[in-house]
């Protein structure tokens, strides 16, 4: 009797590092293509839109960071350094596809057409905020744009995305779900549940693990001991790819293919984008306590926006003066909308009990009434800034 090929007859352990996953890369830092590859399948229009959305996001982030420092916003969080990971994936999906993000994917929302005004209303918790001023800044959401409202508890959107995509499969309209999460969130139990369920139940969902090296202060070396997130996909039986997250062409190519697989084969796909969070975790954070300037500088050299710009220029699709124009336009627009939004009213007090249930039950109506009576008696104690706006 001989040993079948899938058998071994000595207790040899497979090393934890046995499965090394390569990284897809198409674009060099100078904008040339790796190995003189063929030009990837991307139109000038699409490239322009992607680039524009990346630049917009960068400027929005810079501007809002400053606004937060000036005390005009209570909180902010940038996508800086990861614009290619986010726009490159989101751009490969259709408007019918649901996006379920973590919180650092404002670039995807921009890509879907969220307006500057809408950003500002959310960030300032205005009455016109689609979320009615209930959540902290950056917790965007829009039914119209199929962008699920952001939720702070990490990784909860992962099994939800598996379920949402299962519903899309039953509906049979060839839409799928795009689900983002970070390298830190991938340690939560919900990650495991969500990926495994999507694989077993064949949900058409594309998971994008944004591996940016940190979860607040925790470097990935203290987050996992394996080779990142990608090998886990294989463990679940999910088709998986790792890409250079600062290489827009690689990200877009992988995402386009991933969406095609998810919809055609009605199954999940995992993309791990390797990148770096260039800024602080959020405006509450100061990274100097846990990482070096040198490390940051090194990654700044690999800026995804510059890399794409170099490619666009090489292709004669772009030039520096148009770049400056674009930046100025965005800059002005954002500042203008911020100022307008600052003059807008806050949501009315009565909103406080809405949407707990579809119809407010009696006890909530009572609680609101007695609150209104109280607030009327002590108006000075409950003033909210901002009143009057067109």
């Amino acid at each position: 009797m001989t040993v079948k090929s899938s058998q071994i007859c000595a207790p040899i352990f497979i090393d934890g590092s046995a499965l090394k996953i390569s990284t897809l890369r198409l674009l060099n830092a100078d904008g040339s293509l790796v190995d003189d590859l063929q030009a990837p399948d991307i139109t000038e229009d699409m490239a322009g839109k992607i680039y524009s959305d990346m630049v917009y996001t960068r400027i929005l982030d810079q501007r809002m960071l400053r606004a937060q420092r000036q005390g005009r916003l209570s909180f902010y969080l940038t996508c800086t350094g990861e614009e290619a990971s986010v726009v490159g994936t989101a751009a490969a999906f259709s408007a019918d596809d649901m996006i379920m993000g973590q919180y650092r994917e404002q670039a995807a929302l921009r890509c879907r057409g969220f307006t500057t005004e809408q950003f500002m209303h959310q960030l300032l918790s205005n009455a016109s905020d689609l979320g009615k001023g209930r959540q902290m800044p950056i917790h965007y959401g829009s039914r119209e744009l199929n962008f699920m409202t952001i939720s702070s508890p990490l990784a909860t959107q992962i099994p939800q995305a598996a379920g949402y995509a299962y519903g899309q499969k039953l509906a049979g309209n060839n839409a799928c779900t795009l689900c983002y999460f970070g390298d830190g969130a991938a340690s939560e139990g919900d990650f495991h549940a969500g990926l495994n369920m999507a694989a077993v139940l064949k949900s058409p969902v594309v998971f994008v693990a944004r591996n940016n090296g940190y979860a607040i202060s925790t470097p990935s070396a203290e987050q996992y001991a394996g080779d990142g997130i990608a090998p886990r996909g294989i463990g679940y039986g999910i088709k998986t790819i790792r890409v250079d997250g600062n290489d827009i062409l690689a990200v877009y190519a992988a995402a386009s293919e991933a969406r095609a697989i998810a919809v055609k084969e009605q199954c999940p796909v995992l993309i791990e984008t390797m990148s770096y969070r260039l800024g602080a975790h959020s405006t509450s954070d100061d990274p100097s306590g846990y990482r070096s300037h040198e490390e940051e500088e090194e990654w700044r050299q690999r800026d995804p926006i510059n890399r794409m710009k170099n490619w666009l220029i090489k292709k004669n699709w772009w030039d520096e003066s148009r770049d400056e124009q674009l930046q100025n336009k965005f800059h002005d627009e954002i500042l203008h909308e911020l100022k307008l939004a600052e003059k807008c009213p806050k949501p009315p007090l009565a909103d406080i009990i809405d949407d707990v249930y579809k119809v407010p039950p009696e006890h909530l109506i009572e609680q609101l009434k007695s609150l209104q009576t109280h607030v009327a008696k002590y108006p000075d104690n409950y003033r909210t800034h901002g009143d009057g706006c067109q």
Binding site: G131, Y164, G167, K358, E362
Partner: protein, 328 residues
């Protein structure tokens, strides 16, 4: 004339699920072992056969995943009915239920909701289950705005409340008293019907004291009331049915009439939902109360195995508490 079938509480649950799935193809059932096998209690028997594996399926063994997946399904527009095998195993799903499902509509300003979600779980003691097959975790969910919490106490309620829960536009936690899955038998209409959520049922009129409970405790309360009646004590019996939001008006009216209230549940005393009810009723009926509101509940311990009988609030404990209350 409505046609009825004699069936037990478990069959009524199965019948309710069947009715819901037949009426609306958007209704999906999911959970551990609920497919081919029909669930460890058989609440989902034959549903996979009838409606196919896409609409009734086994999930991997992960309650947090089941809840999260079902929330996503509901957000997409499906009506998701998830089973948690035992209420004792609902805790890994606690974050998804309490932080996600309960706050889904609120946090999005009604851009999104998961109102199509219903989570069913058998709960309570009485089956020699010890710590982990006996718990009554309803109070945890009753402290969570955004959820509805529903508990039937007989077959008729089970079908009518379940259908209402499934179709309710808010997420509902539906606990089924497994101790009386088979013991509670009654006539159940074959047709599709709903019992309104948020409305208590006055099971018996009385004048001396109000007895309030839910689930399997209604049987203990009924027995105690009979014993009391033999001594000339007239008990009003209320089955709360929906715990969140609860029907304060019905209870207040009753207590204003009887002047006394006893609440009973299997869950431990401290932090149990009887505390909330007592606190509210003492506020609203202060001048009409003739004695302190009494609570007859499980002990403040984990649920024991060998001393289950001693642990549970049974009819004799309720009966003694009625007498003590009247003697106050």
């Amino acid at each position: 004339m409505t046609e009825v079938t004699h069936m037990n509480l478990l069959q009524a649950v199965n019948n309710g699920l069947d009715t819901a799935m037949a009426a609306d193809e958007k209704v999906i059932c999911l959970g551990e072992d609920i497919g081919q096998f029909g669930g460890v209690f058989r609440a989902t028997s034959n549903l996979k056969e009838k409606y196919g594996h896409l609409r009734c399926f086994n999930t991997p063994l992960t309650e947090q995943g089941i809840a999260g997946f079902a929330i996503g399904l509901a957000a997409q527009g499906c009506i998701a009915v998830a089973e948690i095998q035992f209420a004792d195993y609902i805790f890994p799903a606690f974050d998804q239920i309490v932080n996600e499902a309960a706050k889904f509509r609120y946090r999005s300003g009604d851009e999104f909701n998961c109102g199509g979600l219903t989570i069913r779980a058998p709960y309570g003691g009485g089956i020699d289950g010890g710590l982990y097959h006996s718990q009554s975790p309803e109070a945890y969910f009753c402290h969570t705005p955004g959820l509805k919490v529903v508990i039937p106490s007989n077959a008729y309620q089970a079908k009518g409340l379940l259908l209402a829960a499934i179709r309710d536009p808010d997420p509902v936690i539906f606990f089924e008293p497994k101790a009386i899955y088979r013991a509670s038998v009654g006539e159940v209409p074959n047709e599709d019907y709903e019992l309104e959520l948020g409305v208590a049922e006055v099971m018996q009129q009385g004048s001396d004291i109000t007895l309030l409970g839910w689930g399997a405790q209604m049987i203990q309360i009924g027995k105690a009331a009979k014993l009391a009646a033999a001594e000339g004590i007239s008990c009003e019996i209320i089955d709360l049915r929906t715990l969140l939001p609860w029907d304060r008006g019905t209870v207040v009216d009753s207590v204003n009439k009887t002047g006394r209230l006893l609440i009973s549940h299997e869950a431990p005393l401290t932090g149990g939902f009887s505390g909330e009810i007592a606190a509210t009723i003492q506020e609203h009926c202060f001048l009409n109360l003739e004695a302190p509101i009494a609570r007859v509940t499980g002990l403040d311990t984990p649920f024991p195995l060998i001393q289950e009988k001693q642990y549970l609030p049974d009819y004799s404990k309720i009966y003694e508490a009625i007498k003590a209350n009247l003697a106050y």
